[in-house]
Symmetry: none
Subunit: 242 residues, 2 copies
């Protein structure tokens, strides 16, 4: 998964150290030494995650975090705070402006990477570009294709075509298989946060997705959980046959 990370840190030595490690881990790294620089950077390229030093020359990290949270475009970006020492007084009201995690200096690169991974997994599991293959369906986020694997001959694969929304919906469901998702949750995570769309619209898209899956007899992977929502699952809920 190629993730773009913005590092906001005024001490150049530390900044570079972090950047080096992140690059080594395969991330794209953007660096800024103060909030103003960071702001410009964000305007230019939207990062997937922000590593934010608690103390910055021009504005406290806290302020900057709040700022990010306020703007529509940046409000959902995960933020990890880099705080010097474990001084409780630093954690001020202790309440951050919505940071997703803290890392206290000094920290090991290993720890930092682990935290980053954890936050990303929590916030954007379906953003990882890994191919997902479940129940005879193979979805490749990179090529943006979905294939049906023939059960008898795994080497054969038929492609199926999905619209943009259906693709994202299927991607999300597959990335979070075996879990029930309410319509509200799906709207939040597939359509985007704070969208003002009817719950029922989800039904329609599920319908569209199923219609396409019907053609390859995979429609029962998308299951209805009455009173709750929908679920992607291999396990078939067989009705009690009398």
């Amino acid at each position: 998964m190629t993730v773009t990370i913005l590092v906001v840190e005024d001490e150049l030595a530390i900044q570079e150290l972090i950047a080096l490690n992140l690059k080594k881990a395969g991330h794209i790294v953007l660096c800024a030494s103060d909030a103003e620089q960071a702001r410009k950077m964000v305007n230019n390229i939207l990062p997937d995650l922000v590593l934010l030093d608690w103390m910055l020359p021009d504005m406290s990290g806290l302020e900057f975090a709040k700022k990010l949270r306020r703007e529509e475009r940046t409000k959902t970006i995960p933020i990890i705070m880099l705080t010097a020492r474990v001084q409780e007084s630093d954690k001020i009201a202790g309440l951050d402006a919505g940071a997703d995690d803290y890392v206290t200096k000094p920290f090991s690169p290993r720890e930092l990477l682990a935290r980053i991974k954890a936050v990303l997994r929590r916030r954007l599991p379906e953003m990882s570009d890994e191919i997902i293959e479940i129940g005879g369906l193979k979805l490749d986020p990179v090529t943006h294709r979905v294939h049906v694997i023939a059960t008898d001959d795994p080497s054969k694969a038929t492609e199926i075509t999905l619209g943009p929304t259906e693709f994202r919906l299927l991607h999300f469901l597959m990335a979070h298989k075996e879990r029930v998702h309410t319509r509200a949750q799906l709207l939040d995570r597939v359509w985007g946060d704070h969208v003002f769309i009817e719950d029922r619209t989800v039904d329609v898209h599920i319908r569209r997705l199923r219609k396409i899956l019907e053609k390859v007899e995979k429609e029962n992977l998308v299951q209805t959980v009455r009173g709750t929502g929908y679920r992607f699952s291999i396990e078939q809920t067989e009705e009690a046959v009398e």
Copy 2:
């Protein structure tokens, strides 16, 4: 787990930050700035947990906690106190009023969420979405499935299908096993607050639940306690076996 939390805190900045964090954690948040507002709110929507500032403009948090404890409808709601001081004497007074836990300012969102989770697990086990497995029945709130574990081969599991209400009912009973629940209690906690439904309706749902459990010979897990209500128990109240 969708939990409704009422935040009673007069400092708006802190109130908002708490609300933000709670929402991010997937909770539904209600806010009040003083006891009077909080009272009205509680009358309207019964929260699952109350975060209560120690000092409020119109009434001490302590007073408000006691008030909640006095009323039938609210007496079981878990309360977490937000206190600026750590004085032992206060702690005792608070425990007296029935607070379930304390968080002293300043605190980190992580800590607050952890405390909330702990309190909920203790007081409202059916809200936590952990898998519950008792007497050969395994209920998973996340996937929303119920399985019967074969006694001879624990790896085999047959799924059973429940309607929404039966699922909630079984979930509640399993989360509070070995306890008798009156019909009124079940209506309050499974159907929800403020519902005006006949007591006898519970019987019917118990019946429906049992009917499904009969198919897998688990119906005696749901037991009748004559004159009181129902109970989920492994222990068999064996009648004169014929």
